[in-house]
C-alpha cells in the first residue's frame, strides 16, 4: 500500500537552496597520454591512499586545450573512477568535451570567471596549488599527536606539542612543529613543491614534501635531534639547520 506523504504544517520549510563554497582538488592536465596520467595518479594516491579515497575532483582542461591536445573524457573518467576518485566537474573544456561530460552526468563549470586570472599568471599549474592553499586557514594543534592518530590540514599545520612515533600528520601547505617530531610528516600533499617542514627536534620516521620523501634510515646523524628545516630544491629534499 503506498504510504501517503505526511503533510508538513509549514510548507515553506520543506527545502531551501543555499549557496555554499567548497574546496575541491582540481586536476590540471598537461598531457593527453592516458597511461602516463594513470601511472602518475597511482603514485600520488599511494602516498596517502586514505585521503584520496572517494575524493571529489574537477578536471581542468584549459592548459591541455591551449596546447591543442585532445583527450577522451570518457576514458579519463573511467581511470579516475577506477582509482576511487569521484569526478564532479570539468572546467575549460571545448564543445565536444562538454558534450561528453554531460553524457556522463558530469557538471560543467564555466571558465569566464578565471580566464583573466589564469592568463595573468605566468605558470598557471604551479600557482593554482598555492592559491587554493592560501584560501585555507591554518590548523593549530596544541595537544600531543599520539601513535595511531592522523591529522590532515587543508592549509598550513602548526603543532606546538610532540608528534609521537606511529602518528601521521599531513598538510597541503607547510608544517611547523615546535616540539619533537617522531612520527611521519607530509607537507604539500596536493603537490605544492614550495611547502616546507620545520621542527624543533627531528627524529621522524618519514618526511615528505610534494611526494618526495625520506625515511628515517636515510636521515643522516648530523640532522637528528635538533631544530631543522626541510624544503624541496630541484626535486630533492634539502634538510638543514634552521639557523
Amino acid at each position: 500500500m503506498p504510504t501517503e506523504p505526511k503533510k508538513s504544517v509549514n510548507n515553506t520549510t520543506t527545502l531551501e537552496f543555499k549557496s555554499s563554497t567548497f574546496s575541491v582538488p582540481v586536476l590540471v592536465l598537461s598531457t593527453n597520454d592516458l597511461e602516463q596520467i594513470e601511472g602518475q595518479l597511482k603514485n600520488k594516491i599511494q602516498l596517502s591512499p586514505e585521503f584520496f579515497k572517494n575524493t571529489p575532483v574537477v578536471f581542468d582542461l584549459q592548459l591541455l586545450n591551449s596546447l591543442n591536445l585532445a583527450i577522451d573524457i570518457k576514458q579519463l573518467t573511467e581511470i579516475l573512477r577506477y582509482l576511487h576518485l569521484l569526478p564532479i566537474g570539468i572546467y575549460g573544456g571545448n564543445k565536444e568535451q562538454i558534450q561528453d561530460a554531460l553524457d556522463l552526468h558530469i557538471p560543467i563549470y564555466s571558465n569566464h570567471t578565471n580566464v583573466s586570472a589564469s592568463s595573468r599568471k605566468a605558470k598557471p599549474d604551479a600557482t593554482s596549488v598555492s592559491e587554493t592553499r592560501a584560501a585555507n586557514p591554518t590548523t593549530i594543534i596544541k595537544h600531543p599527536v599520539r601513535s595511531g592518530q592522523r591529522i590532515y590540514a587543508h592549509g598550513d599545520l602548526i603543532i606546538t606539542a610532540q608528534v609521537s612515533a606511529g602518528a601521521e600528520i599531513m598538510a597541503e601547505g607547510n608544517i611547523h612543529i615546535y616540539n619533537t617530531l617522531r612520527g611521519r610528516a607530509l607537507a604539500g600533499v596536493q603537490g605544492d613543491s614550495n611547502a616546507c617542514i620545520f621542527c624543533f627536534d627531528l627524529q621522524a620516521e618519514l618526511i615528505s614534501i610534494a611526494g618526495h620523501y625520506k625515511i628515517s634510515e636515510d636521515l643522516s646523524e648530523t640532522v637528528r635531534n635538533k631544530p631543522i628545516q626541510i624544503y624541496l630544491e630541484e626535486n630533492s629534499l634539502i634538510i638543514k639547520d634552521i639557523i
Binding site: H143, P144, V145, R146, S147, G148, Q149, A161, Q162, S164, A165, G166, A167, T180, R182
Partner: protein, 269 residues
C-alpha cells in the same frame, strides 16, 4: 558523583590488574568508598589478586544482562569494608559488554561510591574501549621498555579521541603515568629506559614509579593487594601514588639505585 578511574596500558602483562587492586585498596583505606571492576571478560584475574575468587556468585555480564542486581554481584573485600569488587565473567567474551550496559552500571555505582576503578584488559578492542570510555582519570601503566611505551602512547591517543569526554567535548580525561617494574640498576647499565626517557617520549604527568619487586608476585599468589604489604618497596610506592593522586605532596622514591651500607656511609649525599 564518583570519580571513574581507568587503569590501562595497551600492552599486556605490564601490571594493570596489580595496579587496579592496589589503587582501589589504597583509596578505600583512605576512607573513600571504592568499587573495582574487572573488564577483562573471559580472562578473569582481578578476583584472584584480590583474594575473593571463592566468593564469586554473579558477575559483570550477569548485571549487564539483568540476571542479577548490582548489589548481588558486588563482593565486599575482606580487608577493607569500604572496598567492593565487581568480577568479570570467565565464561563469556568481551562482546557480552555493551556501551549502554556499562554506562548504566557506572551510573548506578556513581550514586553511592566515591571512586570506581576500571581494570582494563590489554589491547585496544572492545573490552579496553569500554573500560576507558566513561573514565574521568586514566592511569597509564607502562613498563620501561620500548614496545610498552609505544602501546601506551597509542592508548593515550584513544583516550583523547575515542572517550565519552572527547566525543561530548567535555574537559579531557586527566592522564597519569605509572611506571612499573622499574629497576634503577638495569637503567644504570643501560638496558632499561629511564624515567626521563619514558617521560620524554610520552610527555605525561608522572604519578609514581613502582620498583621491580618480589613482593608483587608474593602478594598476587596470596591474593592480597601488594599495597597492604607496608614493609615492601612496591607497597610503599603504591601508597605514595594514592597519596599523590589525592593531592598529597610526596617526593618520588625508588627512581635511584638503592645504596648499600657502604654507599650510605660514603655516598656523600
Amino acid at each position: 558523583m564518583a570519580r571513574i578511574i581507568v587503569v590501562t596500558s595497551g600492552k599486556g602483562g605490564v601490571g594493570k590488574t596489580t595496579t587496579s587492586a592496589a589503587i582501589a585498596m589504597g583509596l578505600a583505606k583512605k576512607g573513600h568508598k571504592t568499587a573495582v571492576i574487572d573488564f577483562d571478560v573471559g580472562l578473569r584475574n582481578l578476583d584472584l589478586i584480590m583474594g575473593c575468587e571463592r566468593r564469586v556468585v554473579y558477575d559483570f555480564v550477569n548485571v549487564i544482562n539483568g540476571e542479577a542486581s548490582l548489589n548481588q554481584a558486588l563482593i565486599r573485600d575482606k580487608h577493607c569494608e569500604l572496598l567492593y569488587i565487581l568480577p568479570a565473567s570467565q565464561t563469556r567474551d568481551k562482546d557480552a559488554l555493551t556501551q549502554e550496559g556499562v554506562g548504566k552500571i557506572l551510573e548506578d555505582l556513581s550514586k553511592d561510591f566515591d571512586y570506581i576503578v576500571c581494570d582494563s584488559p590489554a589491547g585496544i578492542e572492545k573490552g579496553a574501549h569500554l573500560a576507558m570510555y566513561f573514565a574521568d582519570d586514566a592511569f597509564v601503566v607502562t613498563n620501561p621498555e620500548v614496545s610498552s611505551v609505544r602501546d601506551s602512547d597509542r592508548m593515550l591517543g584513544l583516550l583523547s579521541s575515542k572517550s565519552r569526554r572527547a566525543e561530548q567535548n567535555l574537559e579531557p580525561i586527566k592522564e597519569y603515568l605509572l611506571l612499573t617494574r622499574y629497576s634503577p640498576e638495569r637503567v644504570k647499565l643501560g638496558d632499561m629506559l629511564s624515567v626521563n626517557d619514558v617521560q620524554d617520549i610520552l610527555s605525561l604527568h608522572l604519578l609514581g614509579v613502582i620498583p621491580e619487586s618480589k613482593a608483587v608476585l608474593t602478594a598476587s599468589n596470596a591474593g592480597v593487594p601488594v599495597i597492604l604489604d607496608e614493609k615492601s618497596d612496591a607497597g610503599q610506592a603504591y601508597s605514595d601514588i594514592v597519596g599523590r593522586y589525592l593531592g598529597e605532596e610526596k617526593p618520588h622514591r625508588f627512581i635511584d639505585e638503592k645504596k648499600g651500607i657502604f654507599g650510605k656511609l660514603f655516598g656523600g649525599k
